[in-house]
């Protein structure tokens, strides 16, 4: 059952956002408390658990030898998958993935891939025949809004701690042996996804679930820093309402500040 806000709640939130108020006393563009912990999974090559307020996501990195894609014989593969477990929210149902379950990993895929944080060309075992495939698996544990930003922080964090397993003589990976070789990561690139939500004429960030349900539009940017320049790697707009060009320009001004601010917050974890 789709869960939607009541008209009363939407009107009240509109009124509140206009006055710059939120139920949890945050400012409209303020993030909740972010926590990151590592090595939550024994079997994964790298893993992280991210909490933004009550939102909680586990991201795991798995590496397996595989064949390269025909158009990138000299590069490793990257696959991002996500599963919106019913345990995370009453909004999620088991069964074939819906819109949100397809959108989430695709957004993370683009934000990570286009930032070039993973040096995929260093993941070749034998050119044209065998390369490492990097799997990023996203598992939300609790959805209290802003899952995408949380998942992206988790993916970046887990990648930074990921190790490459050693190979057996027959070419399969030896997962039992303790891996020491680190995944080739470009230093200084921290891809993050930053989402803006719109309700009425107000733009808010990091909504809780009830705020997210009430919002009429969302736009998500994948950001990273490359040679001290801010790069927008991906961008996706969702839901019915529209953004005006003035609003987009305002976001462009906010993005670098928010990116630095988030990075500052996450520094102690990365």
């Amino acid at each position: 059952m789709a869960m939607k806000s009541t008209n009363l709640t939407i009107n009240t939130l509109k009124r509140m956002f206009k006055e710059g108020k939120r139920f949890d006393d945050r400012k409209l563009d303020e993030y909740r408390k972010i926590e990151v912990s590592y090595d939550v999974s024994n079997k994964a090559e790298g893993s992280a658990r991210v909490k933004i307020g009550k939102t909680e996501v586990i991201v795991g990195i798995k590496l397996a030898p595989g064949t390269p894609y025909p158009d990138s014989l000299d590069k490793g593969n990257l696959m991002v998958s996500g599963d919106l477990l019913p345990l995370a929210s009453p909004r999620f149902e088991s069964g074939p993935p819906g819109f949100a379950a397809i959108e989430l990993p695709r957004l993370i895929d683009r934000a990570i891939r286009e930032s070039h944080i993973i040096e995929l060309d260093k993941l070749v075992i034998k050119e044209g025949e065998k390369v490492w495939t990097v799997f990023i698996d996203i598992y939300p544990l609790n959805d209290d809004g802003n899952l995408i930003d949380a998942a992206c922080i988790g993916a970046t964090a887990a990648l930074k701690k990921a190790k490459i397993p050693e190979l057996n003589e027959n070419g399969t990976a030896d997962y039992e042996k303790k891996a020491k070789k680190e995944l080739p990561i470009s230093e200084g690139i921290e891809p993050l996804s930053i989402s803006f939500f719109k309700l009425g004429d107000s733009i808010i960030m990091d909504p809780t679930r009830e705020e997210e349900e009430a919002c009429e539009a969302r736009i998500t940017f994948g950001l990273s820093k490359w040679k001290k320049q801010y790069m927008i790697n991906s961008c996706q707009k969702s839901k019915e309402a529209t953004f005006s060009s003035a609003e987009i320009e305002k976001m462009m001004e906010m993005l670098p500040k928010k990116f630095d601010h988030l990075n500052e917050k996450l520094k102690k974890f990365f």
């Binding site: 806000s5 009541t6 009363l8 709640t9 939407i10 108020k21 139920f23």
Partner: protein, 257 residues
């Protein structure tokens, strides 16, 4: 109208969890011995736990009989009322019962009435005949539109769905304010003994508050600040259900700012 609704809600509240002390004592007992004794007070049980042994007892809600034992089916507080044993759940979904007053959101308008989402397994149906005054089939959306909040009473629970009615005091469409949800099992705590908790919040914040048995809460006040304050108090209650002297703490909180 608002006040009337509130009164109806308070009258509804029959399943109050009593003192927090009892719960804590029960927890202690459980830690000491797993072998079940006769329960005179409520105690916390987990599914599969033996509550009592003996042919004299009758299993009720949330329990089942296995041989001579009565086991808990749910996580909650086991209660003995005469020979009847039942478990009051601490978590879980709303179980609709006849006579419950609930708040819900209109999700669809059909030929014969409105579909109302009341957060139960099946959706509620409000037939057009059960509206308080005559409504022509052409102007149904003027009375209740999709997304509107309505306070209704459960007329009957059938396998196909839940029938609702507005033909009672204080029921109808809610205007202004906002709604939010708490766990339905925390509703008795939010209301308090004979409405003591909810009345205090109403008094201190000057807001009208209506609590549905399905855990939906509606707050409407003079200004947003008071509404936010009332909501914070209720969120505080639902988080600290087992705290001792909760009413005093909430009062302190409301006086504080």
């Amino acid at each position: 109208m608002k006040n009337k609704i509130n009164k109806v809600q308070e009258a509804e509240d029959t399943e109050e969890i009593e003192d927090t002390e009892e719960i804590e004592e029960a927890e202690e007992n459980e830690a000491k011995t797993y072998v079940s004794e006769e329960v005179k007070k409520r105690k916390v049980v987990v599914p599969g736990e033996v509550i009592v042994t003996g042919e004299d007892y009758l299993p009720s809600d949330g329990t089942k009989r296995v041989g001579k034992d009565i086991l808990a089916n749910r996580f909650g507080l086991a209660e003995e009322a005469g020979r009847v044993i039942r478990v009051l759940p601490i978590t879980g979904a709303f179980m609709p019962r006849r006579g419950n007053t609930v708040l819900g959101r209109v999700t669809d308008i059909t030929f014969h009435g409105w579909l109302v989402d009341i957060d139960s397994a099946t959706s509620g149906f409000l037939p057009i005949e059960e509206s308080p005054r005559f409504i022509s089939k052409n102007e149904m959306d003027q009375f209740l539109a999709i997304g509107d909040v309505v306070a209704a009473k459960i007329m009957g629970v059938k396998a196909k769905g839940i029938d609702l009615t507005l033909k009672s005091k204080g029921l109808g469409k809610l205007e202004n304010g906002f709604t939010f949800k708490v766990s339905p099992n925390r509703v008795p705590r939010v209301i308090g003994k004979e409405g003591s908790m909810i009345n205090m919040i109403k008094e201190k914040t000057g807001c009208s508050i209506s609590v549905g048995q399905n855990g939906w809460i509606w707050i409407s006040g003079e200004n947003i600040d008071n509404e936010i304050k009332a909501r914070k108090a209720i969120d505080f209650i639902t988080e600290k259900v087992h705290m001792e002297g909760l009413t005093d703490k909430v009062e302190e909180m409301l006086n504080g700012n």
